[in-house]
Every structure is written in C-alpha cells, then in structure tokens.
Subunit: 338 residues, 2 copies
DNA sequence: CTGTTAGCGCATTCAA
DNA sequence: TTGAATGCGCTAACAG
C-alpha cells in the first residue's frame, strides 16, 4: 500500500508536507506542491480514510435508515439523500429496518462502530426511541424523516398529514361518500396516528359520525388487507363502506388487488384514495387517486439538515420542515353517489 | 469516547484481554470473560472500526455501484445486495453513477479511500474498465452484475440476453409481425449489444430481413424516445413497424407514453414488448408485455460471489452466473396481424 | 513555508 | 490464560 511516507520520500519532503498538500491546509510553496502532486499521481496514491478517521473523528460517511428501499417512497428518499450527500462530499450507507426495531438496533450498533458522521432515519415506530438514544449517547447526530417520535426534540422533515388527509377525505365526501373506511398502519407509527386523527377530524367537521367498524389496522409493509376488506364487506348494508382511505402505498395497492380479486368495481363498487404515489411509469396505467409526497426532497433536505448539524452550521434549536403532498385525483375515486 | 483501555482499567485486566473477548480470539477464562463483558455493557462500549481497519485492512463495508437506484431493476438489486451483505455481517454503501463514467470514477476514488472490502458494479459502459482497473490496482475485489465488459476476466452475474430476447421476438413474430423496430440503449453497454445481436439473429432465423431503418438508439436512463418514434412513423407504409422491442424498462415506459400521446392504440396500432419489469403494483394496471429479470438475485448472488472472493473461499477461476428472465405476455402485444 | 514528535484505538507478535 | 510492546497511516500541535 502506498502511504504518505512513500510520497514524501520520493518527493524529498516530509510526510507532513504531503499531508498538507492533500488537505490543502497550511501554506505550501507552489513548487513543492506541484512536486508532491506529481508524485501522488505517479504512484496512484489515495489516502487511507481509516487512518484519517482515527485522528479527525470524521468518516465522511452518512447513513440512511429506511424501512424498505423497495417501497417507491423510500427509493426516492434514498436518491435525494444520495445526491445531496455526494454533492457535499459524503458517502451513504443504506439500511433497511423492515419496520423491525430489533433489526434497526443491530444496524445502529454497526453504524456506531463504523463511526458514521450522522444518520437520516425513518424510524420503525415509537420504540425506535431507544435506538436513537443509543446513537446520541455516542455523539452521532441524526435527523428524522417521514415519521416523528413522541417527546423527541430533534431536526425533522415531515409530511403535512393533517392537510393532506383532509384533502383526500373531503374529495371523497364531495363525491357523496359517508361510509368511508380507513385501512391504516400500526398506531405506534406517527404517520398512522396523524392520518387517523385527521380522518376523524374531517368526518367530524362534515357532520359524519365516526363508525369504529370502518377503522381497520394493517401493516405498512407486507400489507395483506384481504381480511380487513372481508370484514368491511360483511357489514350490514347501511354501514358498508362506499369508499376506502388507504394510508400508504402498499396498503393502497393491496386494496386494489383484493377488490379486483373479489370482482368489486373501482370506483363504482368501492372508491379508493391512497397515500403515497406509486410511480406512474406509463401514464396510461394509473387509475389510483393518491396523495404523492415529495419523497426526493425528504431525502435531499434531510441530508442537508444533517450535514448542517454535523458541521456545526445549524442553529441550536431543532428545526422542523413540513412538506405538502400533491393530490392526484384519478379514476379510482371519481364517481358521484347519492 | 470509551476505549478498550477504559474497559480494561475498570475490569482490572489488560487491554489485550478486552480485545480478545470482543473478537472471541484466543483462550479466555470464563470468569474474566464475564467480567469484561459486564463492563462493556455497563459503559456501553462499541469498538471503533477505524482503528480496527487500520490494522486488519478490513472495513466490513461493501459497495454497490448502480446507474440509478430509482430504476426499479436496480432498486431490487440493492435490496438483494443489502440482505445478503447484512446476513454476512457487512454494511452496504450506495452509489449512483447515472450512466456517467466520470461520476463513476469519482465514486471509485471515494470507495478506495474508504477501503471498501469489495464492490458490486453495474458498470456505466465499456469505458468503465479504467475505473475498475483502478479498483484492482488498489487490491479491491469486485463483481460485475447485469453488464459485462469486453476482455475483463472476472466474476459476473448476468442475464441470458440471447434467450430472453429471442423469446420476446418470437412472440411478436408468432403474432404475425414482420416489421419489428428495436429501440435500444447505447451500444457501448454490453446488454444493449447482446440484445441487438439477438434481435438480428432471431430475425434471420425466421427469414425476416433486417431493416436498418427500424433500428433506433436511445438512452437507458432519461430516455426520450419521441424522436425515435416520430422517425419510425414517417417510414413508408411498407416499412412502418407494427411492433416495437424496447430494450429496457425506461425505454419501454417512454415508448408507451409517447404512443399514448400520439393516440396510437397499443397493441392494435403498434404492439410493444419490453425488457425488465416495471413493478406490477396493483395487478389491474399492467398491460405491458415484459421480460422480467430476477433483479433481487442479481444483488443477492453478486454479493455472495463478492464475499467469497474477499474471504478467499472462491475458486481462483472467474465465475459467471447467467440468470433467465420471466416472460410476462400482456395486452400490449396480444393482437394477431396478417 | 516546512519538519519533528506524538498519539488516535486497536490487534499482532512475542513473552510470561 | 494473560500482558507488554509495537505499529497500522495519518494529522494536530508545536518548533524552526
């Protein structure tokens, strides 16, 4: 392995001078600088970050913890995160928690061991708090995206769940729906709680009584909503939902699939609105009404806040960015009923 | 920061003993082992990998270089890679080259600096060879996925482009198509070359003369195929394509969009078959006939080969895994013509 | 502007 | 079974 000493010897300078040239620190004469740079190129020298980290306590490695990169929402988060990280000279480690706090904990240990400079986290659920505290205990900054955690004061990039949910619900209500079911993720996830609360609030505002039979809980990942839907369909005629509000993309997709299997027409039989976009690859295909969140910006801005925190350019007070979603009304919900 | 010396002092042993407990190396009495482990837990000690790397020359960090993580194909590659890496105790760095050799080169430098243990690469194109040689020069093992590089002997996980292309083409031919256009990626990418060659060969086998006017080149990313399609539509009636073979997902999607904009019916006006699946999220939506590659396995197996190479359990000879694709015949190509 | 010394946290080597 | 000395490659602090 080529080291700064090899460079130093060949260039007839000290190792320190080589170090200074590499880091552009201190004053170096143009002459020696050029000489050193020539040797570096000649020997194809690339600094060893491990050695550097040991002294500087900086790895220039950031980490992204998502629940599942194959969720298109998180795919775009990752892309935004990576772009900003690269732009700022950082690399990005990818972690999938699978909504599992234990797996998340294991990752956190590895990240701490790696001495990552900071972590952008979409926490599995409220119990992730312990894992995050562990990070903090080791002096590693973090920023939350998508999901917040109760009683945890920190930088966050979140979605405006209240407004967005209200818009989706009011769209359904404007179509004449009164029996609107919600198929939600687990309530220990903040986004599930907020969307549920906004669901309740919107019904109330519009004088529609809340029917607990229409409130279903599923998973945000590996969601199989068929039992929930069977349950809904077995309700007496007067309670049976004419519309379903799915609180994330996987739930929305699973709902579409299940209704198709049951040969229930969308939107005539049951209308659907869903949170999150699924990529509208070919335009001709999408029929699902969705609230599309600016996923790329979650990652991009999240990394920006994180780097500001790491490099000490952030204000001491925690910052909270709340982003709006784009509502795309499509065929799955366009059908007026009495 | 807590170090092994802090642990050693508190446990009344030497630092070396602590190191041995952590690494499960050498013989340690049960008693001291328990004592040390208790102190480690108490002080919440986590080893510093930078220090460890400096000695062992192992980072337990693997890297994945793809052209764009938002391409669903690579999203699944990443997921497979991450799963296998995690299972084997490695972390995964994510890099997007954007099909750009210079950006790829910059990443390579960072990866070398980080002393990644190995890299799983979908190279931008044949010119990536220089970047890969740079890796090798620094003793970093690598495995190619999806795309190979001419005259580069190394472990690879590739797709059976010949068989798959032939199946797609013969499906079109069986529907009566003779004027079949191909919209391809740049020929400096191996997959583009192989799919083109198989396109030519299949035509030949079936006695259909190759018409150069039906051969279009676009991009695998940011593909705007509208000019290509306009060109195809301006051909005289006798040459005008009745079917299009798109050689990757982005090209396939762009083709669908463009035809829709031009109000050309698929498959009646023009039939389409495409390489790569686009995730069939809601089942009801997909109409595109595709050859779906086992993306997850590209990542999973690629990392497996890579780790075997790193840990010295691989045979010296380069290995080449060729995976088949699943053909999904859908509406976009089901329409017999004269 | 340049060099010397020291030490980051840990594992390898050798000795006990 | 345990410990002491040494050095991985680099930079911070100081000296010149």
């Amino acid at each position: 392995m080529v080291t700064i000493y090899d460079i130093a010897k060949k260039a007839n300078v000290s190792a320190m001078t080589v170090s200074r040239v590499i880091n552009k620190s201190g004053k170096i004469s143009d002459e020696t600088k050029k000489k050193v740079e020539a040797v570096i190129k000649e020997l194809n020298y690339i600094p060893n970050n491990s050695a550097r980290n040991l002294i500087t306590n900086k790895t220039k490695i950031l980490s992204l913890m998502v629940t599942d990169i194959t969720n298109p929402f998180f795919t775009n988060v990752a892309r935004g995160a990576e772009d900003k990280a690269m732009q700022m000279g950082y690399q990005l480690l990818l972690c999938n928690s699978d909504e599992n706090v234990e797996k998340e904990a294991k990752y956190m240990e590895m990240l701490i061991s790696t001495r990552t400079d900071g972590v952008l986290i979409a926490p599995a659920n409220d119990s992730s708090k312990r894992n995050i505290r562990n990070l903090s205990k080791h002096g590693i900054p973090f920023v939350l995206i998508d999901r917040n955690i109760q009683d945890l004061e920190c930088d966050q990039v979140l979605s405006d769940n209240e407004t967005t949910t209200r818009k989706l619900m009011e769209h359904l209500i404007s179509q004449g729906h009164k029996n609107i079911a919600i198929i939600n993720g687990p309530l220990e996830v903040s986004t599930a709680r907020e969307r549920y609360q906004a669901y309740i609030d919107t019904l109330k505002i519009h004088g529609i009584p809340l029917n607990r039979n229409l409130v279903m809980e599923s998973e945000f990942r590996d969601s199989d909503v068929s039992s929930a839907i069977h349950h809904l369909l077995e309700l007496p005629e007067s309670e049976r939902p004419t519309a379903i509000f799915a609180t994330n993309n996987f739930i929305g997709m699973s709902t579409m699939k299940t209704l198709k299997k049951l040969k229930i027409k969308v939107p005539e039989g049951i209308a659907i609105v869903s949170y999150d976009g699924i990529p509208n690859y070919t335009e001709s295909e999408s029929i699902l009404t969705v609230a599309e969140q600016p996923a790329y910006n979650f990652g991009y801005l999240g990394i920006q806040l994180l780097i500001e925190r790491i490099e000490g350019t952030a204000p001491e007070k925690a910052r909270k960015i709340v982003l709006p979603a784009d509502i795309h009304i499509r065929a799955s919900s366009i059908h007026k009923i009495e």
